[in-house]
């Protein structure tokens, strides 16, 4: 990670977008930052946490996004500038709080929410544009178009948030968050912050007048006034600008990373003098006057934005304010089908849209360029399917889950959740997982399934969650299940890490974001205190794990918890040598013959095992094998041998 705290105003540093946002917050004098990890947002808090002690700020990985946002609001009430960061799903988790917060207002320290969207859902369960929430919450929304803006906007947004006393939101996307670019640094503030929650103290007992959302109609009125003020500022914001000819054949309206794609496209098409680009940085409230002025520039307007037609619809809503005789431009974008309303965009897509609208025959690339490029890229990396690492405890757990369900024979159902283990939908988890939604949802769904006995339902229900997810979103659902005697087994895949997002600590790890040791919140003690039967298994002990699951399924009678405890292999492998040296005894391996049908390389599919077509035997890929030795117990022929390494 870059040194985001470097005190060298005027110099340029190479930052990824998330670091630029963190730097912007530092320059704004932030005192408090909270987040729950989630790609592509994680490095914002990650980089702040690293320098928190040094810079005398506070940073925490909160249990979930809602708590992160609430904690940040609390800090703002005591006059500390604060920030909460999350990925798109976090916005959903926190939305109830937000809808109240906009009524109650923020404190003297400005409060900024950073939402990082993941177009194409590269590291997400869903694809979602979070910009519309700014519209329905009535909060100012900005989106940086490059790395410099990511920093500058963040800083500026704190001032705005403080001035207006309302939450302000910055939206970013993967290609800004994770790409790297030059950022020219500004000054770091040098003032000691003092936190104090001011209260009205007089002898009459009075209701507080701040930090509560009531009386709502009045507060709502105030909120609109704040938005009017924001609009005024947005109309003249330098984050909005136009490049291009005075009269253009086509006007592109864009924001965020699409600003870069649009510039690339126009450059490639050599259309600088025919196509203009209106780049918006302040998206909501829409700077209407500014936009109207530029709509005159062309009678064709193309909207280029990533995921939903947010600008497109907002601008079209301006239709009513067109002067009576004005010629309305033709609008192109997602509604017309020129730009996808799903997935990431790229310069090629913009080139295609512009060429179609202007009737150009420019071909961005050969028809099969994509295929060729893919082939070249593939030739440099070994082909690998999406799977768990060699030695990953999840593979072992799902092996036991699969076998236990098949042995039990009552067509048990596994409800899934969000984490590395979402891969268990596919071959990595032997296709065992049947449902997947947001964090914690699997346990909620299991609650419902587990109560259907009166309708003749007798399928066992297993809900699988990771350890971080357990703390994040599962506990109320577990309590619900225990209290209402729903019949399911909560399986916690406790690998002691938030592995999918980069090993951030969580309440089970005993370490804070700032690297300080703290109390471990024991999940088994917690679950036992709720009255649930709790079993702790070593997933590498396949027989015992399978037996325990079978026994718990047979027992029935209310919610139970099975904790599969094994450290994440990535964490273990960093600290220790492999426990075993594993090899296949070619004499014993019967490969495809009856009695095996190459179970290890066809079904178990640890990437550490490879099938040698020539010899008709399996073998161990020594580079990839992590020496866990689980396959030794999978091989029906005893052909896989482990020796202490």
């Amino acid at each position: 990670m870059a040194n985001i705290e470097i005190d060298a105003p005027g110099t340029s540093q190479l930052f990824i977008g998330n670091e630029a946002i963190a730097r912007g917050a530092l320059e704004a004098g932030i005192g408090f930052a909270a987040a729950y990890p989630g790609t592509p947002s994680s490095e914002i808090l990650g980089s702040l946490a690293q320098i928190a002690k040094k810079m005398n700020i506070y940073a925490e990985w909160s249990i979930n996004e809602k708590v992160a946002m609430e904690a940040a609001a609390g800090a703002s009430y005591a006059g500390i500038r604060s920030l909460a960061a999350m990925k798109q799903n976090g916005i959903n988790v926190v939305s109830d709080f937000l809808a109240n917060l906009v009524m109650s207002g923020t404190g003297k320290g400005g409060l900024v929410l950073v939402s990082c969207d993941d177009p194409s859902a590269i590291s997400s369960s869903n694809e979602q544009d979070t910009r519309p929430i700014a519209k329905w919450l009535d909060i100012p929304l900005v989106e940086p178009g490059d790395f410099q803006e990511a920093k500058d906007m963040t800083k500026w947004l704190f001032d705005l948030a403080e001035e207006l006393g309302t939450l302000c939101m910055l939206r970013s996307v993967t290609r800004i968050a994770h790409a790297r670019g030059n950022v020219k640094l500004g000054e770091l503030p040098n003032k000691q912050q003092k936190a104090y929650f001011e209260q009205i103290h007089d002898l009459k007992n009075v209701m507080p007048t701040r930090y509560i959302p009531i009386p709502s109609p009045v507060r709502h009125l105030f909120l609109h006034a704040k938005m009017d003020k924001a609009l005024e500022k947005f109309e003249s914001s330098l984050f909005n600008r136009y490049i291009g000819p005075d009269r253009a054949d086509l006007l592109i309206i864009t924001c965020g990373s699409c600003w870069l794609y649009s510039q690339d496209a126009i450059e490639a098409l050599k259309l600088r003098d025919r196509v203009g680009i209106l780049k918006l940085g302040t998206l909501w409230p829409l700077p209407e006057k500014f936009v109207m002025e530029h709509l005159n520039k062309s009678d064709k307007v193309l909207f280029v934005e990533e995921i939903d037609p947010f600008l497109e619809r907002s601008v079209m809503e301006l239709g009513g304010s067109f002067p009576p005789k004005a010629i309305r431009p033709t609008f192109y974008g997602k509604r017309s089908g020129h730009i996808n309303a799903y997935g990431e965009l790229n310069p090629d897509m913009v080139i295609k849209a512009v060429s179609t609208i202007l009737g150009l025959t420019y071909k961005a690339r050969d028809a099969d360029y994509g295929k060729k490029a893919e082939a070249v890229a593939k030739s440099n990396v070994p082909e690998r399917s999406m799977t768990f690492c060699a030695g990953c405890p999840h593979r072992a757990t799902f092996w036991s889950i699969k076998n236990a369900l098949k042995l039990d024979g009552h067509d048990g159902v596994v409800t899934g959740d969000i984490g590395c283990y979402s891969m268990a939908l596919g071959p990595a988890g032997f296709f065992q997982v049947r449902t997947m939604h947001c964090m914690g949802a699997g346990v909620g769904v299991a609650n419902g399934l587990g109560k259907l006995g009166q309708f003749g339902f007798n399928q066992p229900v297993l809900a699988v969650v990771g350890d971080s997810t357990f703390y994040h979103a599962t506990i109320p659902a577990l309590i619900n299940g225990i209290y209402n005697q729903s019949n399911f087994i909560l399986i916690i895949l406790d690998n002691s890490a938030t592995a999918m997002t980069g090993f951030q600590p969580h309440p089970g790890t005993g370490m804070t974001a700032m690297g300080e040791p703290t109390k471990v919140i024991s999940m088994e003690a917690l679950c036992r205190s709720l009255g649930a039967r709790v079993e702790v298994c070593d997933p590498f002990d396949l027989n015992n794990t399978t037996a325990i699951l079978l026994e718990m399924m047979a027992e029935g009678g209310g919610a139970k918890v099975a904790i599969m405890r094994r450290q994440c292999e990535l964490v273990r492998a960093k600290k220790e040598k492999p426990p075993y040296k594993v090899r296949v005894d070619a004499e014993r391996c019967i490969g495809e013959a009856c009695g095996c049908d190459r179970l290890c390389t066809r079904i178990f599919l640890c990437p550490g095992l490879i099938w040698d077509k020539k010899t008709g035997k399996s073998k161990v890929d020594e580079v990839i094998c992590n020496g866990c030795g689980v396959c030794v117990d999978v091989c029906p022929q005893g052909a896989i041998i482990k020796e202490a390494a």
């Binding site: 076998n403 042995l407 079978l550 495809e592 009856c594 009695g595 179970l599 079904i603």
Partner: protein
């Protein structure tokens, strides 16, 4: 083997899902895709060997060429007698009080196994051990005391052959096995066409077959027992020979009896399609004797069987006598009746007198049985 193999898909279609599985265990224990669990054969994952699969081949409910197997075991065509190929039919009982105290009847099975082990004729025996919870499971006995532990009958089917399949391929210990008629049939199929990638089937030197009219389903019957009895107190189960018509359950101090009618609904459906009452392909077959309590009926079928009986007699391990001729007639009658009933059921199921499903019998012999 004459019939084509159809993989575990065929096994499920024709046997397991068709309700014909005997739970013999011939298909489990070595195959990673098939597993026995609590009275069921479970499919753990998809095996792609549809054209060549030992699970299908050795299953006693897939095609059996009776003549070919008889040739392999006895060197002659399949017998048209009611109780199969025999050298001698006797009655016997153990002279060892320790054995008779624990054994089901005369303790012939336990005595012969112990002798074979003592004499180094076998080094282990694959038996059925009843747990404290009264569920039977396969067990490899390697000492006389282990054999004694297994004395007494559990009337629930037990996947005995699974234990053979689990023996490492390079193990060459000589073994005995005590098996039900369906299991003896599976062993005979293996002897006729030795399995690959398992310990050699020729290691099984001694096959002691039990008499069997039917076995009970571990799923349903166990449930019934649990609901009606404190299983930890149970010492012995017994189905005394006709005309008793009872199922007796003994504890240390008491006896509970159920009329057989009440029990019969828990029998394995596959038993209705089984032609063999006396384990016709065993070396020695052992059952009860009507009217003579504490003794066994013993059918000696092979040379090895005869040698072992001879040795037991010489060493005074067994007291041996003649089977009264009326009893022999009854035995034959009962055995023939089982064949008849089964063939009728099979024909009822297949809907075709020429389609005997899994039974590879000559039409002539089938017609003779059905007469």
């Amino acid at each position: 083997m004459a019939a084509e193999s159809k993989g575990c898909k065929g096994l499920f279609d024709e046997v397991i899902d068709a309700g014909l599985c005997t739970l013999c265990g011939a298909c489990t224990g070595r195959c990673p895709y098939l597993a026995y669990y609590q009275g069921r054969i479970a499919l753990l994952d998809n095996c792609t060997r549809i054209d060549e699969a030992q699970c299908y081949d050795y299953c006693p409910r897939t095609h059996i060429d009776m003549n070919a197997i008889s040739q392999k075991i006895f060197g002659v065509q399949y017998s048209d007698g009611e109780i199969g190929n025999t050298k001698e039919v006797l009655i016997a009982r153990s002279t060892d009080a320790n054995i008779t105290e624990k054994a089901q009847y005369g303790g012939v099975v336990t005595t012969l196994l112990s002798l074979a082990l003592d004499e180094g004729f076998i080094e282990g025996a694959i038996l059925t051990k009843t747990s404290d919870g009264k569920t039977p499971s396969p067990f490899l006995a390697q000492a006389v005391n282990d054999i004694l532990q297994c004395a007494g009958s559990s009337y629930m089917a037990c996947p005995v052959l699974e234990r053979y399949n689990q023996i490492p391929e390079d193990n060459s210990d000589k073994l005995g096995i005590v098996a039900m008629p369906c299991q003896v049939l599976a062993v005979a199929k293996m002897k006729a066409n030795p399995p690959a990638n398992r310990a050699s089937i020729d290691n099984i030197r001694l096959v002691i077959g039990l008499f069997c009219t039917w076995a009970l389903s571990p799923q349903n019957f166990y449930q019934f027992l649990k609901e009606n009895l404190d299983l930890s107190e149970v010492k012995k189960f017994d189905i005394p020979p006709p005309p008793a018509n009872r199922f007796d359950i003994f504890t240390a101090s008491s006896k509970t009896s159920f009329p057989l009618e009440k029990i019969r609904k828990f029998t394995m459906p596959t038993c209705a399609y089984c032609l063999d009452m006396t384990s016709e392909f065993a070396d020695i077959s052992v059952g009860s004797v009507e009217d003579i309590e504490g003794w066994n009926t013993v059918i000696v079928r092979t040379k090895i069987g005869a040698e072992l009986m001879e040795m037991a007699k010489k060493k005074g391990k067994l007291q041996i006598d003649k089977l009264p001729s009326a009893s022999l007639a009854h035995l034959k009658e009962a055995s023939l009746l089982k064949k008849k009933r089964a063939l009728n059921e099979i024909i009822k199921r297949s809907g075709d007198r020429n389609n005997l499903i899994y039974v590879g019998l000559s039409t002539k012999l089938a017609e003779k049985i059905l007469e």
